[in-house]
Every structure is written in C-alpha cells, then in structure tokens.
C-alpha cells in the first residue's frame, strides 16, 4: 500500500478511540476482522452510554419532571440525527427498533393483513436469513408466492431475470444493499425504480451498507430501509426502520403496549401516530442516544474517507491473499464491493482455518454467515470471511496473511 492511504485517515489516532483494539487474544494482539458481524465501539460512544446512566436516566415521553424531559430530548435528538444522516423527510419516518431483524419483522408482520394469495414477493438469492425467514412466514400466512432473484457466479444479481420476474402481481421486493457474505454492493436504485414501475414496494436491508455508504433514502426513493446500530460503531440491540410516511401509516402496529397508544378503553384503543405507533414499551433509551453518537463519530471522520480507505485495505488484502496458492474468493465484483473478503483455500475447511487464525489472535467469521442459500449456490460448506473497517491497518492485514499461511501449512 502506498502512503496515500495513510493520508486518507489518521489511523493511529483513530485506533486510540477504540479501547478494545489494544487487548490481546490468546496471548496475541487482537486483529479484529469480523467487522461485518459487528463493529467495535469508540470511547465517544461508550462515554455517551455512561453519561446517560450517570446524568440523564429517566423514562421518556411520560414524565413532567425535568429529568424525563432531558432524557426525552436526548432520545428525540438521536432520532433527528438518524433522520439527517439518512436524509429522511420527517423524523417520524424513523422508527427506532432493536435492529435490522426487528425492523424487517415489523414490516413483514404489517403486510400479513395486506397481501392476498395472488400476490408475489421477490427476494434476492444473496439475502441474510433475517431477510428471508420473515417473508417466508408472511407467505405462509397470506398464501402469497415467494420468488427468488438469482445471482451469478461472480456474486451479482441477475438483473435481466429480475426484470422478467416483475409483474403486476409483484407487491414487495426485498434486497440487501450490500451482501454480508460476499460484500457485493447491489444496484439498489435500479432495483427500486424497476419495482416502482409495476407499483411494488421495496425494502432495502441496509445492515451491511450503513458502515460504508451513506444512503440517501429520498434520492433512492426507497420505501423501507433498515439499519443496525451495532454495525456502525453503535451499541447492540438498536437500529432503525425508515419508511415513507404513508407506507408506515398503512401498516398496523407490530406490538401493543404503553407508549404506542393515544387512548385506551376496554372497548377500543386508538393508536398513537408515527413513530410511536411502532415503539411500544420503554425503548432502549441509552442505546438510541448512543446510536446518534455513533453517527456523529463516523460523520466526523467522513464516509467518503472511510469508503476510500477501506477500499485500499480490501485491494491490498485481495492482492496479498491471491498470492497464496489454492485461494478462491467469493464475490468478485471489485468495483462494486465493500471491504469483505470471503474465501476458501482448496482442500481446507473454513472451520479449521478460523480455529487456527483465532489461536493467532485473528478474529474472522467462518461458516455460512446466516446466508445458507449462497453456500448452497457455490456448493460449499461455508467460507472464511475477513471484513475490514476504517480502524484496521495494513499491518494487521500483514499479520493476517502470515497467520493464514501458517494455518495452511499446519493443515495441509
């Protein structure tokens, strides 16, 4: 790697923000390359959570007392940050959820009372189980058909087939913005426009895109968009569902409880308006506020710089790993890819490679990455996935490559 990449970001300084990066694993410095599973958390976000419990803790939207107001303001302030980041038109189009899985289930549940047996749903062949199972459950309830947009060997969606699959019965389309198993960036704008051509609604799972790409939901004209905070330096168990105002209003509430009502008698309950209609019960208040802090943190670094730097890491890692004999990479769309290196070494099982890498302090993911249909497509038991973040360094990639060679020589 040239010096230029070091100039894109001040990596030494950034790394100091992440306390966990200086710990050891199995007696070796931790090299954390499992960022696609969850990202690490900077001090700024950790401090925000601590500050909440030390200074702001109160239930929100219900107290006349000042502390409740302070907590409510902080929580609603975070919603506004999320809105601004994704450029939603209104803050009430941002539903704060427990994460992508929760967001998707919320929408799927809502469509159970809307879809009819003749309706069709399209999902892509490269989805996370979170974006497959809820739709299967939905189809079981409604009798609608689930159809799959196939992918090519390179790991790209077959857009021609997608166009053929779309018809007047197509009601919903679900595609991830970025595939977690392959790193492929899907052409979501084109997918959305084509779906709108037949009046279908589109949910884009942004769990894997959010750490690398700042999505503009209005420019995309996307109907629903989902994100998990824990993949963008935020806490676990928090995320967002963005939905266009009318499309959220159309859905029935997901869970009943406090907070989501406007009036309750035993005869009848009127629901609160957006976003509260979908936010029953006391939410993860500190998590929501910290979600906002995480976006602040990443925006201060800048998504363009993050994407450019991560691309350099990916290119460097790809060129180094390709020097190892027998390596096969899955997801070979170099210009349309985030910093994910999913691979196998001929004759070796991903589990064995992952186990030995772990012994050398290197954290990667192995297995099917909750995307079994992709593994089925390639006829493999799984892959080793190294996923990079803006706080990773070229030196860490060198350690990873050295460890990988060592693992290979032990196993072969």
């Amino acid at each position: 790697m040239t010096n230029t990449s070091e100039q894109i970001l001040d990596i030494k300084k950034i790394r100091k923000d992440f306390p966990i990066l200086s710990r050891e694993i199995n007696g070796k410095p931790l090299v954390y390359f499992d960022n696609a599973a969850t990202s690490q958390t900077p001090t700024q976000v950790i401090d925000c959570i601590v500050d909440y419990y030390e200074n702001k803790n109160a239930n929100i939207h219900r107290g006349v007392h000042s502390l409740s107001q302070i907590a409510t303001d902080a929580y609603e302030g975070a919603r506004e940050k999320v809105r601004a980041h994704f450029n939603a038109e209104f803050a009430h189009e941002i539903i704060l959820t427990a994460g992508t899985t929760h967001s998707i289930n919320l929408v799927a549940n809502g469509y159970a009372s809307i879809l009819k047996p003749e309706d069709e749903i399209l999902v892509s062949a490269m989805e996370h189980h979170s974006n497959i199972v809820p739709w299967q459950m939905l189809c079981q309830k409604t009798g609608s058909k689930l159809k799959v947009i196939p992918m090519s060997h390179k790991g790209e969606l077959e857009m021609d087939t997608y166009k053929e699959l779309l018809n007047e019965n197509t009601k919903l389309v679900f595609v991830n913005h970025v595939s977690n198993a392959l790193g492929t960036i899907n052409p979501v704008k084109e997918i959305i426009d084509l779906a709108h051509g037949v009046d279908a609604r589109v949910l884009i799972d942004g769990a894997q895109s959010a750490p690398h790409i700042k999505a503009d939901v209005q420019a995309l004209d996307v109907d629903y968009y989902t994100v998990s905070a824990h993949k963008i330096c935020g806490p676990t168990g928090v995320g967002m569902l963005y939905g266009k105002e009318d499309l959220l209003n159309m859905l029935p509430p997901y869970q009943g409880g406090g907070e989501m009502i406007s009036e309750v008698t035993f005869d009848k309950t009127t629901y609160a308006g957006l976003p509260h209609k979908f936010e029953a019960g006391t939410p993860n208040i500190s998590g929501g506020i910290a979600f906002g802090a995480a976006l602040d943190y990443m925006n201060a670094i800048g998504f363009d710089a993050i994407a450019a730097y991560e691309m350099e890491l990916l290119k460097y890692a790809t060129s180094e790993i390709e020097k190892i004999e027998g390596v096969e990479i899955y997801g070979t769309t170099p210009d349309r890819k985030t910093a994910v290196l999913s691979f196998n070494i001929e004759g070796l099982h991903p589990y064995d490679i992952g186990t030995l890498l772990d012994k050398m302090g290197i954290a990667v993911r192995t297995g099917h990455h909750c995307a079994q249909p992709i593994m089925e497509f390639y006829k493999i038991p799984g892959t080793v996935r190294a996923s990079f973040s803006f706080y990773n360094s070229k030196e860490e990639i060198d350690s990873f490559i050295t460890a990988l060679k060592k693992a290979k020589s032990m196993l072969l």
Binding site: H349, Y351, D352, T355, K359, G367, H368, P381, M410, L411
Partner: protein, 157 residues
C-alpha cells in the same frame, strides 16, 4: 476362531474410560504450546479412517452450523464401538480422541462417563454449544447409542 481370540485379547487390554482419559491428559501435557497441540490433533484427524462410507449417510449426520459430523455405533459382544467422521479436520481430531475413550467400552460406562477431560487438554472451546461444530450433539448421540444398547442388553438379560 481367530476373530474371537483377538476379541479376547482386546478385552484383557481394555482400560477403563477413566484410564484412557488420564492417558490422553498425560499425552497432551507434553505439548509446550497450542501449536503442538493442534498439530497433533490435525495428525489424529488425518490419520484415522473413522467411518465406513456406507454409514456416511444423511441418517447419521449431525449438522452443526460450522462443520458436519457423522456418527455410527455397533455392538460387538458387550462393547459398543463407534465410528465417526467430520468434514473439518480439527473436529475430526477431537472425534478421534472421543472414540479412543468411548469405543470398546460397555454401554453403561459410556452412558455415565463425563467429558471434562476435554477441558484439561485445552480443547474446551470446541465443545461449547455456540461453536456449532456438531461435537456437542455428537457426544449426545454417542450416549444415546449407549443408552439404546444398554436397554437392549437389559431386555435380553
């Protein structure tokens, strides 16, 4: 005839589950670091033909998230013999160790055996349920076979 005499001989040499576990613990105590330990396991995994292809069928498979395990058991006189396999070599190495401990034992002894020796040889992490490599289910399956054969014996007796 030859067969029964060799069986006779094996029976005399049979050491208890406890003894075999101690043997293995001692073997592993000679390794100086994780690398030697894993090299040995990889060796075990590679060298043992663990299962007859005809038993490597869907019925005998245990699907972990990470690796697959096949396990099959037969009775030989009053001893239960296990064969098993895995698509991952380290998993297979651990299987080899488990088979060494449990094969050729009385079903009743296998039923009641514990596997804490795996902790002592530094391989505990592989038996964690969250590891999803099929080993935890495999041990369960080995014990199920033992329970089944044990009750068969009881019925006969």
């Amino acid at each position: 005839m030859a067969k029964s005499s060799s069986r006779q001989k094996r029976k005399i040499n049979v050491s208890s589950i406890q003894e075999r576990q101690e043997e293995i613990i001692e073997e592993f105590s000679m390794f100086e670091d994780w690398m030697q330990r894993y090299e040995y396991m990889i060796e075990l995994g590679k060298s043992l033909p663990l299962i007859d292809e005809k038993h490597k069928i869907e019925e005998n498979i245990i699907k972990g998230c990470q690796s697959k395990v096949w396990v099959y058991a037969e009775m030989d006189d009053d001893q239960v013999n296990y064969t098993a396999d895995s698509d991952a070599i380290i998993t297979k190495g651990i299987i080899a160790i488990l088979i060494r401990v449990f094969s050729g034992q009385k079903p009743e002894d296998v039923m009641n055996a514990d596997t804490s020796f795996i902790d002592e040889i530094g391989l505990k992490e592989h038996l964690s349920p969250t590891r999803a490599n099929g080993l935890v289910s495999m041990i369960k399956q080995m014990k199920m076979y033992a329970i089944a054969y044990n009750s068969q014996q009881q019925n006969k007796a």
